[in-house]
Symmetry: C2
Subunit: 514 residues, 2 copies
């Protein structure tokens, strides 16, 4: 059996059912093997960053990795940015990257590069297959590496000659199940001691932000009097009515410092100590008050949920029922602001939807308002590298074809990977894209002022504004095969959103923010 | 003076007048300085790959580097693919990459990565500025590195704190002029000996493909009887009537082997020995016949033009006049094929145009036909990493605002960096984009067969075809602010191209290939 076919079979045997990618010549044997070894759904993307971002989104919803397929060093380079985001989201991803045949590398052909060096920049695990005979073993090792808790980026480099030569029988090598490590009991008792009164806080991340995790944390807070909050960015959070709303550490340093002020102990469960996103002159990097102790209940690679439930047991916490206030009545007229948009989305969101938040400057307004929506999962771009919203939506929709995906996408960052719209159209993905159109990298207005550069001239503003010309999002959507409309004002937006949500399949609404 | 302002002033003092980029928070001081230190035209791109590809195109036409501005490791990652192409084109590029302030790197903030490791993958020179006081020196070193013949990728990493602190007077440090090394006379005499009869060939690249270089090579061939040809991919070639047409080594290995068969000596002038683009089972990597000697007349970093002219003198070559055949009459009706499209473009091309060739599978048909067009420069994506055509057009148009740029762009590769259209609209660039629309990664059909994977099933074809849905290029163009039309058939294409060429400013014609 050819190495390429062994690889496809090994991926399937290892539980991988979805392959996202942009192949090239060196991957043609892998592509040809897709039809000989069934079980791997292949999804073409028009740009590698869509494939890697979608693999991240897939893992968040499916709870297991997808694989990507990329072409040599430059193709992998195009996928790195969203591998960074996936890595920060702590998601498992298995990358298959084609490479020149071994004998060809000496010639420094035009597409030659140091593929391993490119891979290492944003991978936790890298291996180059040495022969067709080891592919099954290499593939199992890659999947195992990706699935090492909490989730890692594994890159397997596949020289073309290992794909096109015979590798024998190609029996799949079993992938060991790697469970998150249990948390020692002493850490649970230490956490219980730390969480006494409102000067203590429980910061939950990872699986701690599931319904069960939030319930346990809320119960602990009710007994101990501590606060509960989450990191600024999270791979996945349970939200909507019936789920206690969990506040997040704010983005702006001053707001974050204020948010954390008064604390003398923070217990971390699947989260790391809060730090500033960027450095600024004369602002702190660590956000918690000086002297505030950090207690590690569960590291990000440990069993966060079990640790939280053990802590709840220890403090004899009881479940606390939560029924959110009635849904805010969505405004039916007036200008469309982040606030009114959030109310309209919250009112219309179908049950069990997956919401993607790459709303950036508008996101912190949307977040609290959406607590009153129907139960949903809230997925954020976790690594801060813009351009993952639309790809995340692709991956989430592939993983959960029966759930509606709503992508709240800032306009500037959406343009990085707008090609994702075509994959939505091609695969018939049930995604409603809401483009928050403010015709600017609006975050940067604030940032320009924060770094002390207050008097922005035309040169600076030209690098921040997205006007001249305005982007025609409905036209872009149409070009990629997705129906799209532009909505100005609350009434038009509510109507357009309703139409988009009512039908199955991709649709785009450009919401012009007043 | 703040470090950021010193940097902008140093870039301008070093001869850099154009900055292409996507800034983020860590680059805000640099952005603010654009208005305090005049002389640097800042051009916003919607994606970093547009910025780096445009910097490549700018250098090819301006003969000097532009600078790029990118945001941390992930932003730089997005620009790597076209840095690979620029590196293979041997063009000078100066990258300015923002980085977290030094004290912030310990916190592993969400956007933290090893920026130097990312930079090293496709840069020839990398330095991280250590303090505002050394920025002028670092900038001069970066420009000098970029301008080291034949042209290099230099990446200067700028931690935010070095940008926002005072660096003193900030006097610009002079950038030494680095000229290509002269070629020793013995190499000229050796080359003259090798080039006797039709079993000898002169392979010219770099400046050897200028009008002067081609004239010298043609004159040498007339005296010695040798053949003259060029590498498969070239940064820039003089073409059109009045310029001897120079054939290129074909892409397909079998064709290339045939093309080179019978040679026993190849003299290299600004070129490297021809190798196969990819490896295939049972095909050679080196394309010249076994035993064919390679004589290096001028290395790519040496003075290729002077070496060719010295050789012409030595063999007492005389200029050979060349008048191309009358322009082929362009077909006025019938289906649009690569051949008829090429005739129509050749007939309509204005004098002194810059033609970008990222036509891939169709490019080898277009190339010979365009020999009969008005004199023009022919720029190819040189590194084989698709998605540089539109960015190259942006850079070429910025460098030569009075020349018409015609971008012959394959559809599949054009989608990688379609965001370049917006920068064309915003900057009013005089670019006519011709999208060669065959709704497939057509190169890969051939590649699938060549690797022996002849029976492509639906899974494989789904990764190669660009249909379901077809891309609506005029819609994409409109969304980015560029007028666009779709043309089916020769008559419609000739009309649409005429309209696009007649006006100043960007326009797109989707040429549907029959």
């Amino acid at each position: 059996m050819l190495g390429a076919e062994i690889l496809v079979r090994s991926l399937v045997a290892g539980g991988i059912d979805t392959c996202l990618g942009n192949p090239g010549t060196s991957e043609m044997h892998f592509v040809a093997a897709l039809d000989r070894a069934p079980g791997l759904r292949s999804v073409l993307t028009l740009f590698e960053g869509v494939a890697t971002g979608a693999a991240d989104g897939y893992a968040r919803v499916a709870g297991k990795p997808a694989c990507t397929l990329m072409h040599l060093g430059p193709g992998l380079a195009n996928g790195l940015c969203n591998l960074h985001n996936a890595k920060r989201a702590r998601m498992p991803v298995v990358n298959i990257v084609g490479e020149h045949a071994a004998k060809h590398r000496q010639y420094d052909a035009p597409l030659h590069s140091d593929v391993e060096a490119v891979a290492r920049t944003f991978s936790d695990w890298v291996r180059t297959t040495q022969s067709a005979a080891t592919i099954a073993e290499d593939c199992a090792a890659a999947i195992a590496a990706a699935c090492t808790p909490p989730g890692r980026i594994a890159t397997l480099i596949l020289p073309a000659d290992t794909a096109w030569t015979d590798g024998g029988e190609g029996r799949a090598v079993p992938v060991p199940a790697i469970l998150p490590a249990p948390v020692p009991a002493t850490r649970v008792t230490d956490a219980a001691k730390a969480l006494r009164g409102e000067r203590g806080a429980l910061m939950i991340g990872g699986d701690g932000l599931s319904v069960r995790g939030i319930e346990a944390a809320t119960a602990i807070a009710a007994v101990t009097g501590c606060r509960v909050f989450a990191p600024m960015s999270n791979a996945r959070m349970a939200r909507g009515w019936g789920v206690h709303p969990v506040p997040r550490v704010p983005f702006a340093v001053d707001d974050a410092v204020k948010f954390l002020s008064g604390l003398d102990a923070v217990v971390l469960a699947g989260a790391v100590p809060p730090v500033a996103f960027f450095a600024y002159p004369d602002k702190p990097g660590l956000l918690a008050p000086p002297g505030c102790a950090m207690h590690e209940l569960a590291r990000v690679d440990e069993d966060v949920l079990a640790a939280l439930e053990a802590l709840a047991n220890l403090v004899e916490a009881k479940p606390v029922a939560w029924q959110s206030a009635k849904r805010a009545k969505a405004p039916s007229r007036g200008p469309l602001t982040a606030q009114s948009l959030a109310s309209i989305v919250a009112a219309q969101l179908p049950e069990d939807a997956i919401v993607i938040d790459e709303a950036l400057s508008l996101g912190f307004t949307l977040y609290p308002a959406m607590a009153g929506a129907a139960p949903h999962d809230w997925l954020q771009m976790a690594g801060g590298a813009t351009g993952e919203g639309l790809p995340l939506a692709v991956g989430a929709a592939l993983a959960a074809p029966r759930r509606k995906v709503v992508c709240l996408q800032a306009d500037g960052s959406g343009l990085y990977t707008c090609q994702a719209l075509w994959t939505m159209a091609r695969e018939g993905l049930d995604v409603t894209v809401v483009v928050l159109s403010n015709r600017a990298y609006a975050t940067l207005y604030g940032e320009l002022a924060k770094v002390g550069a207050t008097e922005a001239g035309p040169g600076a503003l030209g690098m921040i504004r997205l006007d001249r010309p305005d982007i025609g999002w409905p036209d872009l959507a149409k070009g990629f095969g997705v129906p799209g409309v532009r909505a100005v004002g609350c009434a038009a937006f509510a109507r357009a959103l309703g139409t988009a949500l009512a039908k199955k399949g991709p649709a785009l609404v450009e919401a012009v923010i007043a």
